[in-house]
Amino acid sequence: MSASEPTDGLGPWRQFLCRACGLIYDEAEGDADSGIAPGTRFADIPDDWVCPVCGVTKTDFEPYRRRAPAALTEVAPVPPRRRGVVIVGAGIGGWSVAEAIRSWDADIPITVVTSCAGDIYHKPELSVALGRGLSPEKLLRETGGAAAARLGLRLMADTVAVGLAPERRRLRTTRGILPYTHLVLAHGARPALPPGLDPALCWRVNDFTAWAALHAELARGPRRVAVVGAGMVGCELAEDLARAGHGVTLIGAAGLPLPELLPEAAGRRLLAALEGLGIAYRGQTLVRGLTRAPGGDVALALDDGSSLAAQTVIAATGLATPSRLVQAAGLAFDRGIAVDPQTLRTSRADIFALGDCISLGGQPCRFIEPVARQAEVIAYGILGRPHEGYAHSAPVIRLKTRSLPIEWHGLPAPGLAWDVVEESGDRLAMVQRRAGEVVSRLVA
């Protein structure tokens, strides 16, 4: 029974929510159990009336406004009855494995679990997009939902992998437990923040979501930006920000940028190029702490006792592979998920890993070039197809600073001397030799 439309001139019937148990009192329905007739306004209910379910009083009710339904469109509610491949991570590594499997097998069930939306973008563009005036929409190549439909797989977006039982082949996630036949870990690495850098006060640009949020902040107009960390990402972002019209201070721990990869002569050239774009470099400086200053600026406390104010702070202080999930499951971990260098299997044969989250011989390799080859090896391994195996080689590394692009062939060896092989006003080439053999070469 419910009352017809109200005639008391107080507007439509309203609903009130019990804050304790979620019962909704609907004025049109009343509360028959307590003798409240249909069509009784909430205000007219006696004060000693209590919630018919949980017994709290009238004062614990609040006007009920319908919430927007949660966006669940990309989360299938029911796990597949058939086990199959579960991929953790929807970055380039995760999607590459899915593509590689589908190019040979259209039927094997694939589930991709990702803590983000799973949208596809080209990660190296994130550090050069501001200067090119690219928007998030421009960077987005395909939505996760569209890619999932194209590849015929199940995408579980906004879902975190929290636990792993390798002996039972079950992955525990924040949206349920997934059985698998093969598991692929492609969850990447996470920005590692030194103590003192409050994560709520500094951005890290390691994925599309974070970049898009930073883009929104920077789109308000030219800002004073401090970039903490003068490694590859820090240098690229500093230049990109400067090109986009922001005032940039780049803070590095050493006297020159990129100390791990560049000998002094090349470091000087890079510094001059960055300074030529108006970037101020603060070398031999560590940031001890961040605080929100009155007026909205972030104050950076530096280790020489001085401080610096910026409207936006970006930390580019390196990456680390999260270890909780894999270590709790007993998988070998050594600065990354330890994998066989040929098969990319972890210490469990039915669990593979690739991309930023792995380590080969204790060395992480966080470059994009090997990922496609790694994905192919894994797809072959899962489908039982013969493959000659993954052969790791140091990728060509490029620093995408247009003011001074730098390229490395062969990973520089720390502590080994550099020899100049070519030097002119606009070109510098140097090599590292071990027993007369060139092990690394850079061209700036």
């Binding site: 017994g55 709290v56 994560p199 951005w203 974070a210």
Partner: protein, 381 residues
């Protein structure tokens, strides 16, 4: 798990300073004897304070406290042992255990002296009213008790729907939002709420576990003075004990799963020829139970570890105890068939106990939401 503290008075005839094995043997004797016999009546509404007194005497209700060696693993194992006979009693043990934890960790001399000694010995009883504030802190619902500053303390009003292990002469830990000018909550206080100065209102009937003495609790201008203050402000205190609070609950789910496993084994000889066609067979449940118990015991070594990764591990283990209890109870009834479906049967009761394990705060859905939140990177707003 025996600690030096446990050795100190190992020859006492009773109490929580005895050896682990002695405490567990005492709990097992109660669980397999009088508690198993009373489980049906407790499910129907009989509040087993006498058995709780016996469990306290056996040393089961204080082993996790610092003063008795901080043996969280032992407290969980005792809760598991009781829960395999009666999930409701396991829940009462958890209520009682965390209330003792609040009192000890408060550092308030008025709560850590004779009051705590009486609590641990089962001379007095008290539970916990933190379901609402725990959900409020996770952004799931608004806080229901409101406090206003008053000379010498606070005055608290409001209504909590379902609070267990309380009654005449009993008490519970509670949290209220402090409202100063206007409606804004400035911070929260945590205090020991004396039931004799509050109104206890009957609750609607639940589908089971009716013997947990669960009431609606109404406060009207209730005065909280320094002697009953557990923490002001409450949030840092909750942050410190949160993992321990959740981890202790694992004893319930492990016990319900273990009881269910026992019921499967009991019919294996007679019904194994058909039960072999079922999912979640005893060997599978036993293996998972052993693994999960091992993980819980490992986590129980460092209950005050403040790392986010540790907290996620605890939430994950707690969620898994719910999942395992649900599957084990379900499978146990299917293994027993019609006899398990009798209203008086233990497998039937454990189905409802396992549902309780999965919905009591933190419910599976809350645990998952919190794990997702804790896993997200913090970024500038």
């Amino acid at each position: 798990m025996s600690s030096a503290l446990a050795l100190r008075s190992a020859h006492d005839s009773a109490g929580p300073d005895r050896f682990d094995a002695a405490i567990l043997a005492g709990v097992a004797a109660i669980a397999d004897g009088p508690l198993a016999a009373a489980a049906g009546a407790i499910d129907q509404g009989s509040y087993p304070l006498d058995l709780m007194g016996q469990l306290a005497e056996a040393g089961a209700l204080g082993a996790h406290l610092d003063r008795h060696g901080a043996r969280f693993g032992l407290a969980i194992a005792a809760m598991q042992t009781a829960s395999r006979a009666c999930g409701a009693t396991g829940f009462l043990m958890w209520c009682h255990d965390v209330c003792g934890l609040y009192m000890e960790q408060s550092g308030n001399p008025a709560l850590t002296g004779a009051a705590l000694a009486d609590h641990v010995a089962g001379r007095s009883f008290g539970g916990t009213a933190l379901s609402n504030p725990m959900k409020a802190f996770a952004g799931i619902e608004p806080i229901l008790l409101r406090a206003t500053p008053a000379p010498g303390g606070y005055r608290v009003s409001g209504m909590l729907p379902w609070v267990s292990h309380i009654g005449e002469g009993q008490y519970c830990g509670a949290i209220a939002g402090v409202v100063s000018a206007g409606e804004t909550i400035t911070h929260e206080i945590m205090f020991l709420l004396r039931c004799d100065r509050a109104e206890l209102r009957p609750c609607p009937h639940f589908s089971g576990m009716e013997g947990t003495s669960t009431w609606g609790l109404r406060l009207d201008d209730y005065f909280v003075g320094p002697d009953d203050m557990i923490a002001d402000p409450a949030r840092p205190f909750i942050g410190r004990i949160r993992a321990a609070f959740i981890l202790l609950q694992c004893g319930m789910g492990l016990g319900v799963a273990e009881g269910s496993l026992g019921a499967m084994h009991a019919v294996e000889e007679t019904l194994g020829h058909v039960n072999q066609f079922l999912d979640d067979r005893p060997d599978e449940i036993a293996g998972e139970l052993a693994d999960l118990r091992g993980r819980v015991m490992q986590l129980a070594r460092t209950p005050y570890d403040g790392a986010t990764d540790y907290l996620i591990d605890v939430l994950d283990a707690r969620a898994q105890t719910s999942d395992l209890a649900l599957r084990a109870a379900q499978s146990s009834l299917l293994h027993q068939g019609a006899r398990g479906y009798l209203m008086s049967s233990a497998p039937q009761r454990r189905i409802r106990e396992s549902h309780f394990v999965a919905i009591v705060t933190p419910a599976i859905k809350h645990l998952r939401k919190e794990m997702a939140r804790l896993s997200r990177e913090v970024m500038p707003a």
